[in-house]
Each structure stands twice: as structure tokens, then as C-alpha cells.
């Protein structure tokens, strides 16, 4: 299964470029979300990070997939700061690991990449489901990916299930009371707002689907 679904470096380059564009476009929207329950910097900080990624990407052309994402992750880690810096930094640094020495990966390996990325976020932030963080988008998405693969859905459908689950997970943060991150001190007042990190991570996963070549 999925044997002819091979994803090359060009796919990943395109994904990162598109994410950078999308973050720029949604910068103020994400910042508004963070203004409601955080400190109004999420979109702006991600945009600082992804601008730098875009600027440096040409230098990374010759790297393998692991090296490429390590550079993406390190750049975000170095430029974004706050909670999102270490979280997305760790995500992308780990995301590339299964692509060590490779210029292309299988669909199975893509799953492995998401798995390592999401686990890295969970390890770094120690958040679990239901705490109103990006984990509420990322973890359900990963679970849906695994489930859809087990059900032998087509690659494209797997990706759709993956993104759908992220969207629903993000949506569900609206009703949650934050237990992690800056919003946790709001208690009851954090309810009724979409978590900015859940929103941005859903956007990011959507790009993996949008660019998906199959």
C-alpha cells in the first residue's frame, strides 16, 4: 500500500514556502486570537520566524530532508521565541529525522515524520489533550492519520482525515478552559476563544494537504 506515494524535497520546499506565505497573510488574525487570551504576539512572532526561513531557504537547497527541516526548526527556535518558538522549533527539527540522508520519503515515512513532530511538541510543552493548546489540533490529527492508514484509505483521503481532525480539534478548543500556556491564568475567562496555537498549527497542516501531489 502507498508504495508509489513518494514525496520529494520539492514537496517539502513548497510546503514551507506556502506556510510562510500563509503566516504572513494570517499574521494579524493570529495575533488577534492571541490578544484575546494571550499577549497578542503569536502571529507576529511566527511571521518573524518564517520571514527568516524564507530568506535562508536558498542556502538549504543541497541538504537532505533531515538537514532541511533541522534548519527550518533551528531558525524558528532562534527567531520566534515565546512558547511557539520552542514548540514549532522542536516540531520541525524532529519532523525531519526520518528523512535522514534522503531526498524523498514514502507516505509511511511521512506519517513517521508527523509522529515525531507531534511527540516533540508534547514532550517540550508537557500538554495533553483538552488543555487548550496546539496539542488539541496536532494530536487528533496524528491519530486520524494513523487510523485512516489502518483503514487503508487512499493517501489523499488520509491527508484529508488528518486535516479534518486538526480542524475539529482546534474548533473544540473554543469551549475549553486553558490549562497550559499564558492563557491558563485566565481560568473561566479563557473559554469562548479559539486557541491561537491550535489555529496556527491547523493552518500549517492544511498546507501539507493543499500541496499534496496525489
Amino acid at each position: 500500500m502507498y508504495t508509489d506515494c513518494i514525496l520529494g524535497k520539492d514537496y517539502f520546499y513548497q510546503v514551507i514556502e506556502k506556510i510562510a506565505g500563509l503566516i504572513e497573510e494570517k499574521r494579524d488574525y493570529l495575533t488577534e486570537l492571541d490578544a484575546a487570551i494571550g499577549d497578542a504576539d503569536h502571529g507576529f512572532n511566527l511571521s518573524i520566524g518564517f520571514r527568516e526561513v524564507l530568506k535562508k531557504m536558498p542556502e538549504w537547497k543541497d541538504k537532505d530532508i533531515k538537514g532541511f527541516f533541522r534548519s527550518v526548526g533551528m531558525t524558528l527556535l532562534g527567531k520566534v521565541g515565546g512558547a511557539a518558538g520552542p514548540l514549532y522549533g522542536s516540531f520541525f527539527m524532529k519532523f525531519g529525522e526520518p528523512g535522514s540522508g534522503k531526498d524523498e520519503v514514502t507516505f509511511q515515512e511521512l506519517f513517521e515524520m508527523f509522529k515525531q513532530g507531534v511527540e516533540a511538541v508534547e514532550q517540550r510543552g508537557k500538554a495533553i489533550l483538552g488543555e487548550k493548546t496546539m496539542v488539541d489540533a496536532l494530536r487528533p490529527a496524528l491519530n486520524a492519520f494513523e487510523k485512516a492508514m489502518k483503514e487503508n484509505l487512499e493517501a489523499k483521503q488520509v491527508m484529508e482525515a488528518f486535516v479534518d481532525a486538526a480542524r475539529q480539534g482546534a474548533e473544540a478548543t473554543i469551549d475549553m478552559i486553558a490549562k497550559k500556556g499564558r492563557a491558563m491564568r485566565l481560568g473561566e475567562r479563557s473559554r469562548g476563544h479559539l486557541d491561537p496555537g491550535a489555529a496556527s498549527s491547523t493552518m500549517i497542516l492544511e498546507v501539507f494537504l493543499d500541496c499534496f501531489p496525489f
Binding site: A40, I48, V80, G85
Partner: protein, 331 residues
């Protein structure tokens, strides 16, 4: 917007360029990292390195307190945003003199993640880095370990830095920082939001004529929002949270800091200070020393915070210890 800025993406770098130029007798930027402001005297031979830091927009916190017998370096993040792990690590490389370093910063999740990663990187180089997070904001949580750091940062930095300047080892510096933090309590009131340089708009809504007691310096919500009261009433309410929390009691001696969140002028601060002093007199709590001014701000936010630190002879000596930094000189 009523700000004087250029491209919002250049705000931090331009500020740092101006800062290191204006205060070049005290500080410079670390050659390998434009987000690390280093004392010209660092590394100071045989001294524990004192590293402070956090997001930008709270000036003179943090970079204003880098200098002789004060912090050795400040690590600078984006606006309201903790610095990166690499910069935290670079600060260690810049100031470590072989006796280890201490990280001191306000207790925010983002800062903890980044500074912790910096400490891990330093550990790989065999440099010991200890951390004390500051938790002076009374209202931010029932649980002291979960509380935020606000203007009390200043007292903790001062105490720890003086201890280090006296030649203490890392454990002693950590102990002094913890003691300072344990004895410090703050709470503030916001009368407006700061203007975010990127959006040019208020970071959160707070209507003119309203105030929020207990609000955090990034706009985190507090005890209650309501109509603006007169200065005495506001001070009374804040003090009613601060005093019982430690508690501060008759016979205690304290240092007082009445801090501007940015746009609130010295006139208002001194009117508030007057009321603080009256209350302390009433409670027979003795004022040992006082600071009034913008020590920890949120850019152009209107508001004021009160910090009390309970003193013993050691803490007095540490606060009084001479130092010379761009935004704090003690003779």
C-alpha cells in the same frame, strides 16, 4: 498610534543598536548574537555570571540593569516574547567566568522553555547554570510557584547581582535570589493597553475611564475590571491584596517600589507612593528605602504597580550594594 518607530520588524534590533550606542560606557552587543546585551566588564573574574532576560517592551527591564555589580548580561526576546534558547546559551558563553551562571527571569511558560533549553546547551559545555524564576505577582495565582514575575524582578535581580558581586558562589547566589523572591510581592493596575508596534493598535481593549486591578504586564486579566477610582482607593485596594499575602506585619521593614507601567507620570506615582507610605505607617511597617519610577514597563501602557520586599540585614546589604548600570546607579 502615538509611537515613534520605523519598520515594526526592526524594532528590537534598532532599539538595541541605539541602546548599546547610547550606553556604550556600560554595555555592548555580544559579537556572536545580536540579542545578548553584555556588560563591558563581563566576564568578571571569579564572579558568578548573572543573566537576566525576557521579552522586549518592558524597558528599562532587562537591558537597563546590565552593568557594574548588576547583571552581566541581558537576553532579549521579541516584543512580549521570551528570547530564544540559543541566545540564552550565548549569554552564558559571554559571561561565564568559571564559577557558573544564574538565569533570573519572570515566571512565564515561554521563558521557562527557552531558558531551560539554553541551560541544557550550557550543560553540554560543562557550564553549570541555575535558574530562579520570579513570582512576585500576588494575584496571578493561588499557587506561588505558578505566579508571574513583574516589577519585583528588579529587587530579585539587584539582590542576586550584589551577592554575586560580593564573591559568593553559585549556590549562595541562588539562595539570595530565592530569598529575595520569597520576600517580594507585587500587584498592579492597568488603565490602558500598550500599543503593539506591528499592528499599531492596542494589544487589548481597556476603555478610557476603566481600570483593571491585578492585570499582568502583558495584559493578562486581574482581579476585576471597573470604573477608574481615585489614586487613594486604587492604592488601598492593591495594598489589601499585597499585605496579607506574605504577610507583611507590624515591625517589618520593607523596600517599596512604586512602578510606572510606562505612560503614568511621576506625578501620579508620587501621589500613590504617599498613600502607600500612609498605609505602612498605620500598620507600623517601616520603610527602609523606596524607588518611584518606570522600572518595569509595558511600553506605553498606563498603569502602576506596587512592590514590597520584606528585608532582613542581608537583603538590606544587597539592595544597598553600590552598582552602576544604565538605568540604575547606586552610590
Amino acid at each position: 498610534m502615538r509611537r515613534l518607530l520605523n519598520d515594526p520588524y526592526d524594532v528590537v534590533e534598532e532599539m538595541l543598536e541605539g541602546f548599546c550606542r547610547a550606553h556604550s560606557e556600560h554595555v555592548h552587543l555580544y559579537e556572536d548574537d545580536g540579542r545578548v546585551v553584555v556588560s563591558n566588564l563581563a566576564p568578571v573574574k571569579n564572579k558568578v555570571g548573572v543573566i537576566i532576560g525576557g521579552g522586549s517592551g518592558h524597558e528599562p527591564l532587562f537591558l537597563g540593569y546590565v552593568g557594574e555589580n548588576f547583571a552581566d548580561a541581558a537576553v532579549i526576546g521579541n516584543i512580549n516574547t521570551s528570547p530564544s534558547p540559543e541566545s540564552c546559551y550565548n549569554a552564558v558563553k559571554a559571561v561565564d567566568a568559571g564559577r557558573g551562571c544564574i538565569y533570573l527571569y519572570g515566571n512565564y511558560a515561554g521563558d521557562v522553555m527557552n531558558f531551560d533549553m539554553g541551560a541544557e546547551m550550557a550543560a553540554e559545555d560543562g557550564i553549570r547554570v541555575e535558574t530562579v524564576t520570579i513570582t512576585d505577582d500576588v494575584y496571578s495565582s493561588e499557587n506561588i510557584a505558578d505566579r508571574r514575575g513583574v516589577a519585583g524582578d528588579f529587587f530579585v535581580f539587584k539582590a542576586a547581582a550584589a551577592k554575586a558581586a560580593m564573591g559568593a558562589d553559585l549556590d549562595e547566589v541562588v539562595a539570595a535570589a530565592k530569598k529575595a523572591n520569597d520576600n517580594t510581592r507585587s500587584m498592579g493596575v492597568a488603565l490602558s493597553s500598550a500599543t503593539h508596534p506591528a499592528t499599531g493598535r492596542a494589544m487589548f481593549e481597556l476603555a478610557e475611564g476603566d481600570m483593571e486591578i491585578g492585570m499582568g504586564i502583558h495584559g493578562e486579566p486581574g482581579v476585576r475590571r471597573g470604573k477608574l477610582q481615585n489614586a487613594d482607593k486604587v492604592v488601598d485596594e492593591i495594598m489589601s491584596y499585597i499585605l496579607p499575602d506574605l504577610p507583611f506585619e507590624a515591625g517589618d521593614e520593607v523596600a517599596v517600589l512604586v512602578n510606572s507601567l510606562g505612560a503614568t507620570p511621576l506625578m501620579d506615582l508620587h501621589i500613590c507612593y504617599r498613600r502607600v507610605a500612609q498605609i505602612l505607617d498605620e500598620k507600623k511597617i517601616k520603610i527602609y528605602s523606596s524607588l518611584v519610577g518606570p522600572y518595569a514597563t509595558t511600553m506605553d501602557m498606563f498603569g502602576m504597580s506596587i512592590t514590597l520586599m520584606k528585608l532582613d540585614s542581608e537583603l538590606k546589604e544587597l539592595l544597598d550594594y553600590p552598582c552602576n548600570a544604565p538605568y540604575y546607579v547606586k552610590k
